[in-house]
Amino acid sequence: MTIYDIIFYLFAAITVLSAFLVVTAKNIVHSAFYLLFTFFGVAGLYVLLGADFIAIVQIMVYVGGILILLLFGVMLTNKITSVEIKSGTIHVLPAVIGLGLFAAFVLSTMMTTKWKSNPAELPFTTVYDLGYILINEYVLIFELLGILLLIALIGAASIARKDKE
């Protein structure tokens, strides 16, 4: 067992455990903080897989953007002083049965398929490759995503804004 394996199991354990706690935690703010650990665990796995740029983007976009946005949502939609921020569950039994079957199907597919299992040679850094591909082959999708983000931000602002009488 090399140091690489130990780090993998550590990050995998963090990810799995905190993902489980996101779903089971009663308090919404606790769920948000467990989600933080999940994002960090996944970022660590990205580093192990040699995707350094994606790992940094994961931390900046998910932790710095989406998680803060979710916390804002929690604070804006729950009056902390008067209403409790706990929330319950519904339809637990049918969901667990259906998802047990789903998980068994996915896991058996993944175990029985013969994947290419020896890893490719990892490049020292992926930033050069990613930048080159992004601006050459995928430049149309890149521009479209810029427009999508702009539209989403304008739409979000206009939906969340109070109507003027």
């Binding site: 919404i28 796995l45 897989l49 976009v61 953007g65 979710l70 996915v106 490719a120």
Partner: protein, 102 residues
């Protein structure tokens, strides 16, 4: 140096995806449902990065980039909708938001 078979990454992301679907199905609060959607998107990203790394091609990481962009847009619009609903109904529990019933 990398001795972890790719199945381990795939099983991990399958587990994360299942946990995310579970959360969407059983939780009542719309914001927790949002967090579970982010979990599912993250598990798909992990799969794509694993394949990209094991096949030695960078295109998979580009798609992860795109998924993250769409996830950010989705989170912004979704939270705006949740806040608009909260302003009208004073709750974000999805079983109490039944205004589409007739």
């Amino acid at each position: 140096m990398n001795s972890i078979p790719i199945e381990y990454y795939l099983i991990l992301s399958a587990f994360m995806f299942t946990v995310g679907v579970t959360g969407v199905l059983i939780r009542r609060n719309a914001i927790v449902i949002f967090m579970c959607v982010e979990l599912m998107l993250n598990s798909a990203n992990l799969t794509m990065v694993a394949f990209s790394s094991y096949l030695g091609q960078s295109a998979g990481q580009i798609f992860v980039f795109f998924v993250m962009t769409v996830a950010a847009a989705e989170a912004a619009v979704g939270l705006a909708i949740i806040i608009a609903i909260f302003r009208n109904k004073l709750t974000v529990n999805i079983d109490e938001i039944n205004i589409f019933k007739w």
